[in-house]
Point group: C2
Chain length 500, copies 2
């Protein structure tokens, strides 16, 4: 602590005394005891009065003068500066809120009005099937630590801002990785490193959508992206997905729709893989209407059985597809590192926007990632965690078969880190009560309905559904979680169709 | 490399063979050799033809089916899926650029049109007075590494997103730090951790400004903030600064002006400290017009002689001041960590906007910062670097006195990590040539004119100026840099008023 350490030029006692004089005079100026224009005691007098050195007083006066409370000139006694503005000094008063709503921009008002799902609650559950969480024991902490230390000690002439596109070594490493793992050939120049895929989506929203435009969105789909596009003031067109992903036959035939947000490798949340015919139709649509396609490849690495599907951008000859990748699933969502692969004509404006938004992504961990990709550690890690996730997925399907009613069905099991569980004996409006009952038993499960933009239609009714992420759980936790879910269902749903 | 490692279930030879079959069929489908609806060879036949196992062929067919190239059903020979869209397969074609400008939002078009200063050039100078760089040898690498390692090993149940406001421990640490160092009392709830002060400014711009609004800006002032506000489509009102900072008497008397961006602790770039009278006037203006004041405290820690001036927000009773802090100057601009202290009524909308923008700031380094602040390491580091910067500043002033013409003057020396050098024997339009000549001698100096919004006025002419950052340099480099600058000036400016 500072006050126990003496300094060569000023003792800690003198420092305290100086601060005391400063505070005293400032409060006397504030409450009017010392009015504007009034002389303050000479440094000599005040030093004698208080039994401190004259230097201590002088230093307090200089501080007050620097802040504009005192007017001083050489050889003259200091005076309280004028004009002082406020009738009473505000320091002691509590801050009060304005009585009316704050004045915000149109964007601000839209953001304030947006409903977003709560984050995982402050009280964590014993077993949480929250989608997006990954296991901390999967994180390659040792390799990461070593690489971080090496980067920290690497000589740099000075620490300065990077160019907005991000660290050159990471973009080179990503270029090779994308070719090997995602069949995607691009220039390093097309890669823009960002603070997670959410920032990638936000940059697209800002740069490509005006209020009054329309955008195509998967129904159901990824809520945080939908909200981000909606916040621009554009209108979302919910296009249904089936087992093969987005139904491209329903794409709107107009030029008002400026972009389509899709998850072709593994539709979120239903898990379909967009077949080649629909991929071509989507690209043709984008070409015809000069619209953009945002390909969110949020978990493209995690496909079981077959090797991962090549990225949509790899067959885009017209430069309409913006590819979004992330390290949130393979490493950690807390890293906040992701990237865009941009059509060449969008590179300059995205770089400029990234620079205005936050200069560039944080540097050390970009370099750590680059070194882990270059050494092969990253891809070994992805293969290892893919096997882990495959075990977890098998455990989940097995536990569902044992603990849940036979009529429950599962979709989206071929890839990714989550499944959707349909409960045909319940209605969507039963979801909140079911989720709450399961949570009261220490298990977190999540309703699927918030991922639909449109409320339940009468003609196409759907059952209640849950989205279950399993990437952070052990096989034992997965089994126990499904046991609890099964017990809650059995307790609440007394129907002949339910076994147990 | 993958192909040198055998796997239990499939040999690397089989993998290569499988990939070969996949590529072959895909290209035959693409070029029409295999038309839509055509049968492909049975797995048995093709396996026999190629001398590979049937499993290898089956696995390639399954991949093609998963991607929508083949239609398969149990017990039947696979066929090429229809409809296939493109007349020719696009894989091999190079991407081509569109012939017209890309379709962008209004914001995108404004961003694309913005002129921004270049970043430090790819060819670094021998001695670079670039403002914003700090010395890498000042960075507390040992303490940082230890704290990072401890955070990396700390047990977490799982890795999931944080709440948008940032790590709770860092916000607690900052609350104490701000009270001790900046005289600023706030709730932890008011603190929002962001990716550097640039993101703080960008969030303010998005949430508080509409196209057609106006904002007050210091003339000269911080260009990256001005550009960010301009990108919203709002109009900047350039209010002149003098030796005491913003001339608050010139604040506009209208409600169209929604915010004022100020640097009251140390005006950027001229260095004035806003006196208490002007502070109160600025706050009164904001109250009257329900406008916001953004206080960018970019280097408030680095004040020499006196202790740092308390933050403007500390005397704001109306909740109009948004305080912006950063770790870029005290630690590193590459960390991309800063924070806002928000008026309570703005807290919800800023949190929501941060979540949509990029979820939250990266986590590990937030926790490292918290632990360094809590242990006192951070403030010891700030004091130590403040002494270092004071030595550098003294060396700079000394070198200027020795190497530059006597008529050159310096402003902004009481605080911060840069000074402005005025060269009254040169015109602003001479700045680029001077900068280039000095750079050709390996020394980076920077023209001050780009920080002015308004071109030179005939009635109030100003001389040429340079902004010189010294935080990353040694005293020897500083001396050598000024020697070079002096020599270039002596060579180019042959005037009676110039000594040497």
């Amino acid at each position: 602590m500072d006050q126990f350490r003496t300094q060569p030029n000023q003792s800690s006692g003198a420092k305290r005394a100086g601060r005391h004089i400063y505070d005293l005079l400032r409060s006397q100026i504030a409450d009017g005891t010392l009015a504007a224009g009034a002389q303050v005691p000479s440094t000599r007098d005040l030093a004698a009065d208080l039994g401190v050195s004259r230097t201590t007083v002088t230093s307090a006066y200089e501080q007050l003068a620097a802040e504009g409370f005192l007017a001083t000139s050489v050889g003259r006694v200091a005076r309280v500066a004028s004009p002082l503005a406020a009738p009473a000094w505000p320091d002691a008063k509590p801050k009060r809120r304005s009585r009316t709503a704050p004045t915000l921009s149109d964007f601000g008002r839209r953001v304030a009005a947006i409903e977003m799902p709560g984050l995982a609650s402050a009280e964590p559950c014993r077993i949480d099937f929250v989608y997006g969480a990954v296991a901390s024991r999967d994180f390659p902490a040792l390799a990461w630590r070593r690489a971080y230390q090496a980067e920290l000690l690497r000589h740099q002439r000075s620490l300065y801002y990077l160019a907005p596109e991000g660290d050159a070594s990471l973009r080179r490493s990503l270029q090779g990785y994308l070719r090997r793992a995602r069949g995607l050939a691009c220039d390093t120049e097309q890669i823009l490193v960002v603070h997670g895929s959410q920032q990638a989506i936000d940059l697209c929203a800002r740069l490509l959508l005006n209020p009054g435009d329309a955008f195509v969105f998967e129904e159901p789909g990824y809520l945080m992206a939908r909200r981000c596009f909606e916040a621009t003031g554009a209108e979302g067109l919910a296009i249904p997905v089936d087992a093969q992903g987005l139904d491209t036959a329903m794409l709107p035939n107009d030029d008002r729709t400026r972009l389509a947000y899709v998850t072709p490798s593994h539709q979120f949340p239903l898990g379909g893989v967009l077949p080649i015919g629909r991929r071509m139709e989507l690209l043709r649509w984008a070409r015809t209407h000069r619209a953009w396609v945002i390909e969110d490849d949020y978990d493209g690495e995690f496909r079981y059985g077959q090797r991962p599907i090549d990225a949509l951008q790899s067959i885009d000859t017209d430069g309409r597809v913006i590819y979004v990748g992330t390290f949130s699933k393979a490493l950690s969502p807390q890293l906040r590192l992701g990237y865009l692969v941009l059509p060449p004509e969008l590179v300059p404006v995205f770089r400029q926007a990234k620079r205005l938004a936050d200069r560039h992504a944080h540097v050390l961990e970009q370099r750590v990632l680059a070194s882990l990709i270059d050494s092969g550690t990253y891809e070994r890690h992805v293969r290892r965690t893919r096997r882990e996730h495959e075990r977890r997925r098998a455990a989940l399907l097995d536990a569902m078969a044992r603990h849940l009613p036979a009529s429950a069905t599962v979709t989206g099991t071929a890839a990714g880190l989550h499944v959707v569980l349909w409960l045909p004996f319940l209605q969507p409006q039963d979801e909140p009560a079911l989720v709450a009952a399961v949570r009261s038993n220490g298990v977190g499960v999540y309703a699927v309905s918030p991922l639909f933009a449109k409320p339940q239609s009468r003609t196409q009714p759907r059952p209640a559904g849950l989205i279950l992420g399993y990437a952070s759980l052990t096989v034992e936790e997965i089994d126990e979680g499904m046991r609890v879910l099964g017990a809650v269902i059995a307790e609440r749903v007394v129907k002949p169709s339910v076994r147990r």
